[in-house]
Amino acid sequence: MSDSELPPDLAALERQLAERPRIEPSPDFGARLLAASRAALGHRPPAVGAAGWRRWAAVAAAVLFGINLSMSVATDTDWHLLPGPEPEQVTATVNQLRELAPELPESELRRQALLARAGAALSPTIPLTPKWERIRTTKEPDRWDER
């Protein structure tokens, strides 16, 4: 709403208000206020840059800890394959297969028996049961190729 939108008497009153003597800030108030602002700036919270640096440092520490832990777990995990089937078990399986399919030659019976025994543990089984006490205390082996 500008003066032109006010009736003449209100517009005149508006001008009268604008021209009346009003309080002005004293010079010492300005100095006092800026000193208080300066003091408040001095007690500012940590800047965003510093906070960001701390966050990235925490992330890096967490990643390093994770890598170290996973290497410890990998080191103490027994990756060896399970032993192969016992000869007695293979022979027993061959006998069972012979009863089921007497027309098969001996070599094929033996091959099928080995396959059947291997099927019980077709893929190498990795016992993922690291001993936590060892992970915590064991040093890394000096020579990796001896394992």
Partner: protein, 177 residues
Amino acid sequence: MAEPPGDPLLAGLAAGREEAFASLYTREGGGLLRVAFALLGSRADAEDAVQEVFVGLAQARASWASLENLRAYLFTALRHAAAKTAARRRANRHEPLPDALAAPQSGGLAAGPAARLERALAALPADRREIVALKIDAGLTFREIAAVLGISPNTAASRYRYALTELRDALGESADE
């Protein structure tokens, strides 16, 4: 008035540069003090309220970079600071105020048109006095006043007009006496 993006004053405030605070005080200090005086009726209390606004600004400056309307923010903060100052004063002096906020003193003018105008202004209800101060003493637009008071610009303009009408009527009555 929306601040232009990348306003150097806002950037300076957000960075905590003292010269930015000095510029802001030069630009808005007078208006803030006059509005605070209209709300609180005492120069000392008005100065306390304005100082509180600047200190709060310094402490929360990190959020200023995304500020859209600096003047609206300042005068909104001033209203809160004035309300707190008035509450402190009531608690300290234990004297009830006739209105939510005290009416300003007439500034020592005993007679004459200026004194009559000042007395009539002081006699207005606080919300009327506030809107006149925001418009006349601080030079805010109706859009800025609307943002400060949380109303629409049209409502701000209507309230301002009512305030002037009441003031005119009060002046007419005092002239008749």
